[in-house]
């Protein structure tokens, strides 16, 4: 981990970065923001860890907890809402057996997230499955994709 963090630190110095770019790098490398990583960088830079956590909790792209191996993001923009994304997400949580107020399956395989709007309103409702955008999605189509992922593992 330290090696990766050192690289993040070097990039920060080279590119004139800031707290947000550091957090973006950490998130990209680890999939979330580990407390250890923040404390390590905070010491090296002599910037209070609270400043990092202040940003990490402010922006929705940063996650403080482990996320699933596969990320299913359901768009909750207006157009998708009108086309039934609320029901889609509720049924998806049910199908994946994710408990109330949680977003990740117990085996850490899947995380279900919402996003405000990805601007693909013409093909609503939209989901993103591991960075791949799927338009005009239905629960059946989505479950088929999810089964494919499960089978491939």
């Amino acid at each position: 981990m330290e090696e990766t963090l050192q690289k993040i630190l070097d990039d920060y110095k080279k590119n004139n970065g800031n707290i947000i770019t550091i957090l973006q790098d950490i998130e990209k490398n680890f999939g979330f923001i580990p407390e250890y990583a923040v404390n390590w960088i905070s010491k090296k830079l002599d910037i209070p860890a609270s400043r990092f956590f202040g940003c990490a909790t402010f922006y929705s792209q940063f996650h403080l907890r482990h996320r699933g191996k596969n990320i299913v993001t359901v768009c909750r923009g207006t157009a998708c809402h009108v086309k039934g994304s609320e029901r889609l997400i509720n049924r998806l949580l049910m199908e994946l057996d994710i408990p109330r107020d949680e977003d990740t399956t117990a085996d850490l395989k899947f995380t279900v997230e919402k996003v405000n709007c990805i601007g693909a309103c013409g093909i609503a409702p939209v989901t993103i499955l591991n960075n791949e955008v799927h338009g005009k999605i239905t629960l059946d189509k989505l479950m088929k994709e999810i089964k494919k992922i499960k089978a491939g593992e």
Binding site: C55, A79, N116, G119, V133, G135
Partner: protein, 592 residues
């Protein structure tokens, strides 16, 4: 025989989601394996183009043979070979796959200025942009115009900011020009946080160079040396294409030092947002670039005096900048004549929701809403009845059928109780519940409130609680008055536009659809049958064939019955997910 063949494949976010990349490479493979180049001894190119705004029909493909264009819709990888064989090799278009009348009316009734390149040129190639006159305007501005001449042109064009508030762009630049400082910034706001809006995404993905060119011209007018493009994290493709465009500009000497050989220096970089709606607000955006929590500050001074890192800063929206090169080349008068007296030019709207043709449209200011929805949008999907047009995203409001005659501009929409915002238009039909819609937006603003000022942080929370009460059947008679009172305070006392406009969705639905609120509160009934707690699902015995489709589909095992006899829904077990309603082919499930 010499033939010039161009194949254009849509590869915006919508196009890629529908398989655009695969279609493009299938064309490239088919073209090279059939040896077309050798046969015709001429040029045949397959290129990617940006979003042309009609994502519902993606993947869209243009085949242009000697200037004659045929457009195909819904193209998949396995359809490519037939198009190549029949159309490209034998000159006979595959009629059954071509777009219909609706595609042409959709486009023909628009006036494309900002979107004129989207879907026409390869956004990843600076030469394609230069071939259509790209960077001529920037060269002209940088090499042969004074800042004052640029500012005057923009002022006379009557261009107003497309980010929402409609502030006259020329005036903003004039302030930026007057203030002297050795370091000044130009910022392009590509945060586009309004759910339901995607015009900035399409421009950044489909014509990134026009945004950069607009920024170069602004930099010259205000004599700024540095620029930032703030792009939201949810738009990875826009970031990629803008970065490519910036790199190509540097290679060509359009960015960096001594641009266009004029002695003027200007360079820019991209800053990626991290997912916070409020960062679209100008002061919050600047804090975010500084690496801080993106919270708005009181406007004690203008950004033109003290903006990014307390330096003079001019900040404009993506679409605003994309208009600039056209204004410089075609003149202020041409542009202002396109629009109305109050607002010059055209505006891009993203039309979505329950309308037949969803997509991006560009029309002059002054076009009626009716024309937008019915002539260009093709009317309501599935023969349902129109209920309302939601404009301006979570800061906007809902406009009812009676007001569809209004001619769209900043002032007319405000009068109708909504706002222009960034230009999102979501069509709602009879199956949309207006209280639920208001609640949807309040959920959004409440979650996105940065928490700095109390009226917004706590006020929106209280409003949301009341709306939740109403939609769950626990509304009280006095709730409507309470909502209106809260709206007044939040609007008057919030620090930034987020809080000030947060009440709009509630106020406008109360204004036009008060009866729906009353039905929820008094009769505990949701007229559109949307609010989960107020509806029940049951089986219409006469229509039920006992096929068992609902029983198999139900995730809660709430459907009882044996094959070939009418089924029944156990109300206690039912979680009201609506799966049975969708599964039934005989319309035997009733939703009330």
């Amino acid at each position: 025989m010499k033939k010039n063949i161009i194949i254009k494949v849509c590869t915006g976010t919508g196009g890629i989601a529908s398989g655009g990349e695969e279609v493009l490479s299938a064309f490239r493979d088919a073209v090279s394996s059939s040896g077309i180049k050798a046969i015709f001894n001429e040029r045949c190119s397959a290129q990617k183009v940006g979003c042309r705004g009609f994502c519902a029909k993606d993947v869209l493909v243009d085949v242009i043979i000697n200037g004659e264009k045929t457009t195909y819709k819904h193209i998949k990888q396995d359809m490519v070979q037939r198009i190549v064989d029949e159309h490209i090799l034998n000159g006979k278009a595959v009629e059954e796959w071509t777009v219909g009348e609706d595609y042409h009316t959709f486009h023909d009734r628009q006036t494309k200025v900002v979107l004129s390149h989207c879907g026409e040129i390869d956004p990843e190639d600076i030469n394609a942009y230069m071939a259509v006159g790209g960077y001529d305007a920037a060269r002209k501005a940088v090499c042969s115009m004074t800042p004052k001449e640029i500012v005057d042109t923009v002022k006379n064009s009557n261009l107003r900011g497309r980010g929402g508030a409609g502030f006259p762009t020329g005036l903003k630049w004039e302030l930026g020009m007057r203030i002297k400082s050795d370091i000044k910034y130009v910022i392009c706001n590509g945060d586009e946080g309004d759910p339901g809006a995607f015009m900035d995404r399409s421009v950044m993905e489909g014509d990134p160079h026009s945004v950069i060119e607009g920024m170069i011209i602004c930099a010259k007018a205000t004599e700024s040396g540095h620029g930032y493009i703030y792009v939201r994290a949810e738009y990875p493709l826009a970031v990629k294409r803008l970065q490519m465009a910036i790199d190509q500009c540097r290679e060509n000497g359009f960015l960096g030092s001594n641009i266009f050989g004029s002695g003027f220096d200007f360079d820019l970089r991209i800053f990626q947002g991290a997912g916070a709606f409020v960062c679209g607000e100008a002061t919050a955006l600047m804090r975010s670039i500084e690496g801080k929590r993106g919270m708005p500050s009181p406007k004690l001074w203008r950004s033109a005096e003290k903006g990014l890192w307390d330096r003079p800063t001019v900040l404009n929206n993506v679409e605003t900048f994309a208009n600039i090169p056209r204004i410089i080349m075609n003149g202020a008068e041409w542009y202002s004549n396109l629009g109305t007296e109050r607002s010059g030019g055209t505006k891009v709207f993203s039309l979505s929701g329950k309308v037949k043709n969803t997509g991006l449209i560009e029309v002059p200011f002054g076009t009626s809403l009716k024309k937008i929805i019915y002539d260009i949008g093709g009317g309501i999907e599935g023969g349902k009845a129109f209920k309302a047009l939601q404009t301006g995203g979570p800061s906007g409001g809902c406009i009812p059928a009676e007001s569809l005659e209004i001619e769209v501009d900043y002032e007319s929409l405000a009068q109708a109780g909504s706002i222009m915002g960034s230009g999102g238009m979501v069509v709602l039909d009879e199956t949309s519940c207006m209280v639920n819609t208001a609640k949807f937006f309040l959920e959004f603003t409440q979650a996105e409130s940065c928490g700095k000022c109390t009226p917004c942080r706590i006020g929106t929370k209280r409003m949301l609680e009341i709306l939740e009460r109403i939609t769950s059947g626990n509304g009280k008679e006095e709730d409507i008055d309470l909502l209106e009172e809260l709206c007044r305070y939040i609007r008057a006392a919030s620090l930034c536009g987020l809080g000030m406009t947060a009440p709009n969705p509630v106020l406008s639905t109360l204004r036009y659809f008060r009866d729906e609120y009353e039905a929820h509160i008094r009769d505990k009934r949701c007229p559109a049958a949307v609010c989960k707690d107020l509806i029940t699902y049951s089986v219409v015995e006469e229509l039920c064939t006992g096929c068992g489709a609902c029983k198999r589909a139900c995730p809660a095992d709430a459907v009882r019955g044996t094959r070939k006899s009418p089924h029944r829904i156990d109300a206690d077990a039912c979680v009201k997910c609506g799966t049975c309603f969708d599964a039934c082919k005989f319309k035997a499930i009733r939703k009330q």
